[in-house]
Point group: C2
Chain length 339, copies 2
């Protein structure tokens, strides 16, 4: 998503934008057909790929050409092979594969408001029922916990290092809207004396519990099912994680939650929110700022907040020493405040 | 659509591709809300735009920021204004506006197969009923004739100059699948002795007839409703236009039609097909080659044919002197053959 500031008027930009939905469809179809596994296994000719994917040669040829145009495959002498991006991030045999993100990012429940986006803009909030994506027990968060774990998991290491900096010994951690649980689990892995309590809908916590088991930290991983706004979250905690959560709500709601978090923290404890934080111009960096549209489409009043806005919310909730820590090689920023 | 051959693996490219459908949705919504007219009228602050578009301020702010990221608006001091592209191609007050293309390019009947694209790739043909977009009397071609006229009309001048080069005096022209009719009408405007016969579904020809009337050539504009494959098309003609048509069919079907066209032409007469003609690698130029996916999704056996393929079809139908004429500042090429 490169900002286009070409001096020359471009009908191509209009045409490409109106047909951009085809890009998402092509990548989703390729993932569904397990095409990137077939590409990795080779040999990459059309007949072999069609056989491996149980698909037609015409379909495979045209899909592979299209993915080549997008930079998601390479083509040489009529055969297709991985690009660096597809090898690392789309081949299911790669440990860094994020192909499962297609399930969440293309989920009909999230895509549907975009079909009626003019209505969303008119009303100023989602056309989904109630509070949209943050309705109680919304099953899309189970999909998120499964599908987005690989993409989010890549940030767990850097996040763990930042939140634990200078801390040692026994720790109590609250992971609000834990989802896949990978962030709290990372803290538990880095600090063998950490006890982690994860809050989320019960069905989502089952996914987190499975990940905690796989990571060998299950006995220090505690489940607190329910809404972060309603549950008695106990404490006091040394660290509260709020990952991919605040952007779903308006500032007063965020401040209310941050007050509750503040009350649950020890004096000097840390609240750490993982967020898309655009620059103050709200249009850069492109991918970060673009996230605001997803919040418009799928929530009643959420947004991608700037650092200044997040800092104000933290301050009003009683926090000080508020800092932004960009997560390397990701669109996310960790915003931390001190209780 | 810039081919991405970055050496470094890019999770951003995967994320942006999976969410690219949001770009189409945002531009469609902005056109539906008549946002680009409001931008052109000014002053461009959020409150004014919301009032002009009868929409919420939150919705307008987030939509305008998103369009700024795409290069379809500019933002300065919290106000939005046109980019060169939006001023020329999206403001309905601009004579070159192509905003109406959103209606055809986002038409549910064309977008639907992309939702089930994996099934399309498996089977090798559209999931639409019958022959897909080229089913008899398919109403989407009325939408095409209305919505795509501004985008296609920009090519009429160059096309008219090419097909008429070296010809003067009385001429008979057959416009196959005339749609909006703008190409045949252009020939009639350039040559006051040209008689044009337009073939298309009856409902579509009503649009063409309206355009012929507006252009003042109605008395030399004749309607021949029906399928180009079935109607007795008369003749002999000096020129047969086949614009945006051959790509819907497989090569044997194209050859059959070209034979019929050849038989309807005078000796030395010209057949001129306006097509997306990718290079022999089938993956460049990007926008041209990408069109093949639309043919996979919406037809039984269509494609974006290379010049070599089109030349072979022309030759097998009896044509000689086959040449490609790229249309300047457009993704189209005019491929001409001599009867």
């Amino acid at each position: 998503m490169t900002p286009q500031h070409a001096a020359a008027p471009s009908p191509e930009l209009v045409f490409e934008t109106l047909t951009a939905y085809q890009r998402s469809a092509a990548l989703r179809a390729a993932i569904e057909l397990d095409l990137f596994r077939a590409i990795g296994e080779g040999p990459g000719d059309i007949a072999s790929l069609a056989r491996q994917c149980q698909a037609s040669q015409r379909g495979i040829r045209i899909l592979c050409d299209y993915l080549t145009i997008l930079g998601l495959l390479a083509k040489e002498d009529g055969c297709y092979r991985h690009t660096p991006t597809s090898a690392v991030f789309l081949d299911p045999r790669s440990p860094a594969s994020i192909a499962s993100a297609a399930r969440f990012l293309g989920h009909p429940a999230l895509a549907e408001p975009f079909i009626r986006l003019a209505d969303v803009v008119r009303s100023g909030h989602t056309v989904l029922p109630g509070d949209g994506s943050v309705e109680p027990e919304n099953p899309i968060w189970v999909e998120f916990a499964h599908g987005m774990a690989p993409m989010m998991g890549a940030m767990a290491g850097p996040l763990g290092a930042i939140v634990l900096e200078g801390l040692a010994g026994p720790l109590r951690v609250l992971d609000v809207a834990a989802g896949h649980g990978l962030f709290g689990i990372e803290v538990a892995k880095r600090n063998p004396e950490a006890q982690v309590t994860a809050v989320d809908w019960a069905a989502v916590l089952e996914v987190a519990r499975g990940n905690a088991r796989k990571a060998g930290v299950e006995e220090r991983y505690h489940l607190l099912p329910g809404s972060a706004f309603d549950v008695a979250c106990g404490g006091p905690y040394d660290i509260v994680l709020l990952t991919n959560f605040l952007h779903h709500f308006d500032p007063p709601t965020c401040i209310g939650l941050l007050r509750k978090v503040h009350a649950a923290l020890k004096a000097g404890g840390r609240a750490a929110a993982l967020e898309f934080v655009p620059n103050e111009d709200r249009v850069s960096p492109p991918m970060v700022a673009a996230f605001s549209l997803t919040m418009l489409a799928s929530t009643a009043a959420g947004d991608a907040y700037t650092f200044r806005e997040l800092e104000k919310m933290y301050r009003e909730a009683g926090f000080s020493g508020i800092n932004a820590h960009p997560i390397p090689r990701s669109p996310h920023t960790l915003v931390m405040g001190c209780a």
